[in-house]
Symmetry: C2
C-alpha cells in the first residue's frame, strides 16, 4: 500500500511529535487548592512553615518527664502527681516539675518540662491527684515534634505531580489555599462521513450512527480536558477545510475521526496539510488495530487524524494520543495493571504492536484473561472486554498459559 | 484497652454492614447516555436491533462474487468488469452478475450478488471498465454481516456495570440515548475538634488546620458521589448531636471525622448511637493505621466514624468505606496494581492488616517499592508515596526482595 509513506512504531510516532521543535507546552492557571483534584502542578510547592508548629502527643495518656519512669515496670511502678488536664486546642498552663505529669489527649500540646507521653493503658488512676505508671519510657516517646511533618522550605509537591486527596490535605495543612496548575486543553473533535447519522436518528439504508464523536469526547474528559464538538462534516474537501479552520482557531488540539477508507483518509490528510506547518509528521503506525493514524503539528498545535474504525480510534487514543497529551505538561502517570494467565494463544506479527481486548475471570485466586478475537472493527468487542493486552512488536504472538499484563481502559 | 468491645478484621467489618438486613440499596435515575460516563447501570441493557443493519465492507476494494476468484493468483489473474462505485451512505444501484464487481470503500454497503470484498492491493486497474484480480477469496471475506456487532435482544451491558467510553459508543450505535443508572449518594462529612482551624486561618498556639474534611470529600467525589460539608463541630455532645441530626436528614450516608483521642471517640459513638437503630455494629478494626473505626447503620442509613488521624482516615476510606459504598449498588471494581520488588523489610503483627505507603522507582526495567516508614499520623507520608502495600493479617511482615502488589490511591 503506497499510501503509508513510512509506517513507524508507536514509540517513534509519539516521539516524532513530542520531540519536534514546534511541540506546544501547556499554559498555567491558579486555582483554589480544593478544586485541584487530578490537576497537574505546574511548579513545585515547598512548605511555608514547620509543621506541626508545636510538639504534639500522638497518644491518649499523660505527659511526663521520662526520668520519672526510669527503672519502672508493672511489678515496680512509680507514682506521679497529675497537675493539669490539657484541653485540645489550648496551651498548657503548667510547667512540669519532677514527679509531675499532665493528662493529655492525642494531638494535644506537650507542656513545658515533659519529654514523653505514657499511654493511658500503661497507667492506673490512684486518686484525684495521683496515677501509677507501669512502664519505662525513652525521651520523645509518643511525641510528634515540631517540624516532623515538614520543615519550612521543604519540597512537598514536585512539578508535574497529579494532585490526589492527600496532596490537597497537605496543602491545606500548610495553609496553601491556592495552587498553580496546568490549564485544561480545549480539544476539538471533528467527525466526517456521508454515512453518519446522529445517535438520536432512526437507522436508514446504508447509514450508521456516529459513535466516535462520543467515545473520543469521553476519553478526552476522562484525562481531564475540555471537549468542543463540531457538526458531522460531509465527505467534501472544501467544507471540511472551512470547518477545520474554524475549529483550529477555537481549540488547542484537533482530533479528526474520518472514516476508515482511503478516500476519507486522503481528504483528512489534505485538510490537515492545509492547517499550517510543519504539517503531517506521521502517516501510518505499525499497530493493530489503528494503522491509518495521522499525527501532525500545524502552527504549533497538535492535530490528529484517527482511524474511523471505533476500536482503532479508542486504542490509538489511549496508547498514542494520551501519552502525547501528557507530554505537553511533562506528566508521567503510573500505569497499573492486572497480571493474568492467558486462556488461549494469541497470534500476531513481528514488527507490529497488537492491542487485544480480553475478558477477565478468577478461579482459585488466579486471574485469567480470555482474548476476545472477533472482528477488530466492532465496538462491542471492547464493550464485552475488561481490559486489553499489548503484544510487543518483537513477538509473533503469546502462548496460552503465559503470564500477561492486562491494562484497564480508563 | 476496654473501649474496643470487639475488634474485627477488615473483611468482617465490611460484611457486618453489608450483610445486615437494614443495609440500604441505591435509588436509580434515567440520564442521557452521553452523561453516563463512570456511572453504574441499574439494569441490564439489551440490543434493540441487529447491528450493523446491512452487510458492510471492512476494506477498501471491490465487492465480487468469490466464484470469480476461484483458482486465481498473482501469476494467474482474472479480469472482471467494474459496474458501479458504491458511495458511502448510499445503497448500491446494481446487482452483480458473474464476472462483475463494484468499487466499494470500508463501511460501504455490499451489493446484491456479491459475497466477498477483494482488497484494493490485490487488484490492478486495467482501464475504466476492468480490473485484474490477483487473489482467491472465500465466501464472506472482508464482509461484516448484518447482526455481527449485535443481534436484537442480545445482552450488551449487564446490571452493575461501570460505564466506559466504549459502552457509551455501543449504546449510541444502537440508538439508546438514555440509560437507567444508580443515583449518586449524598454523603455528609462532619469534622469535630476544638483544636481545628479553617485552612484559610493563620496558625494559633495548640491548634491545627482541618484537613480531613477536604481529603475525605475529595475521596468521595473521586468515586462519583456528592459531598455535603458541615461546619466544624465543637467537642460538645449536645451541639454535635443537633448538627448530626440535621445532617442525617439531608444525607444518604454520614461520615464523622472526630479526633483520635478516646474522649472524641466516646462523643462520636454516643452521637451515632442516638441517630437510630440498630446503631453501632463495628467499633474497632484490626488494621494499622485505622483501628478506632466505627461502622453503624441507623434507620437504614450507613454512618461512619473515621479516626481523626488523617492517614488512618484515608486508608480506612479506601479499604473499608469504599467497598461498603460499592456494595450499595453491587458494583465490583477491577483493582489494578503494580508488581514491585520490596526494597526493605516491613515488620507487622499477625492478626492485623497493615497498610504501608511506598515510593516507587524503576531500575533496569524492574519496579521497586521503598516503604515510607515515618509516623503513621503524618499526611506527608502519603504525599511522598506513590501507592501502598497491604500486609495480610496472617503475616508477621514482608521480606526485602519479596514481590508485592502496590495499589494506587485513587
Amino acid at each position: 500500500m503506497s499510501e503509508f509513506f513510512e509506517v513507524v512504531s508507536p514509540a517513534e510516532a509519539i516521539s516524532k511529535i513530542t520531540s519536534h521543535n514546534d511541540f506546544p507546552s501547556l499554559k498555567t492557571e491558579t486555582l483554589d487548592t480544593i478544586s485541584c483534584h487530578n490537576r497537574i502542578t505546574s511548579e513545585s510547592v515547598t512548605s511555608n512553615s514547620d509543621l506541626p508548629h508545636f510538639n504534639r502527643s500522638s497518644m491518649d495518656g499523660y505527659a511526663i518527664k521520662s526520668n520519672d519512669s526510669s527503672g519502672v515496670s508493672s511489678s515496680s511502678p512509680n507514682y506521679i502527681k497529675v497537675i493539669e488536664e490539657i484541653k485540645m486546642g489550648y496551651t498548657p498552663n503548667e510547667k512540669l516539675k519532677n514527679g509531675e505529669c499532665s493528662r493529655i489527649f492525642t494531638g494535644g500540646m506537650i507542656p513545658e518540662g515533659a519529654d514523653s507521653v505514657i499511654m493511658e493503658e500503661d497507667t492506673e488512676i490512684l486518686n484525684d491527684d495521683f496515677i501509677e505508671i507501669k512502664k519505662s519510657l525513652s525521651v520523645g516517646e509518643n511525641i510528634i515534634y515540631k517540624g516532623e511533618e515538614t520543615k519550612k522550605n521543604n519540597l512537598i509537591l514536585s512539578k508535574g505531580h497529579k494532585i490526589r486527596s492527600q496532596d490537597i490535605g497537605s496543602m491545606l495543612e500548610s495553609g496553601i489555599t491556592s495552587l498553580k496548575v496546568y490549564k485544561k486543553l480545549i480539544i476539538g473533535v471533528l467527525s466526517s462521513g456521508d454515512e453518519l447519522l446522529d445517535p438520536s436518528e432512526d437507522l436508514q439504508p446504508a447509514k450508521i450512527r456516529d459513535i466516535n464523536t462520543y467515545t473520543i469526547s469521553t476519553l478526552i474528559k476522562s484525562i481531564g480536558h475540555k471537549v468542543k464538538n463540531f457538526p458531522i462534516m460531509p465527505d467534501n474537501f472544501e467544507s471540511q477545510l472551512e470547518q477545520a479552520k474554524k475549529a483550529f482557531n477555537e481549540c488547542d488540539i484537533l482530533i479528526f475521526s474520518a472514516g476508515s477508507s482511503i478516500s476519507y483518509r486522503d481528504t483528512t490528510s489534505k485538510v490537515i496539510s492545509n492547517l499550517g506547518l510543519p504539517g503531517i509528521l506521521v502517516h501510518g503506525v505499525s499497530v493493530k488495530p489503528g494503522k491509518p493514524t495521522i499525527l501532525a503539528i500545524c502552527d504549533k498545535k497538535i492535530i490528529i487524524g484517527l482511524p474511523g474504525n471505533p476500536v482503532s480510534a479508542s486504542m490509538i487514543f489511549t496508547n498514542i494520543i494520551r501519552p502525547i497529551i501528557y507530554k505537553t505538561y511533562n506528566f508521567e502517570p503510573l500505569e497499573p495493571y492486572i497480571l493474568c494467565k492467558l486462556n488461549d494463544d494469541i497470534s500476531s506479527h513481528t514488527g507490529r504492536v497488537d492491542y487485544v481486548p480480553v475478558k477477565l475471570s478468577v478461579k482459585d485466586g488466579i486471574s485469567y484473561a480470555q482474548p476476545i478475537l472477533g472482528k477488530s472493527n466492532l465496538i462491542n468487542t471492547l464493550v464485552h472486554s475488561d481490559g486489553y493486552i499489548t503484544v510487543p512488536s518483537e513477538k509473533r504472538g503469546l502462548y496460552k498459559n503465559s503470564t500477561v499484563k492486562v491494562s484497564n481502559y480508563e
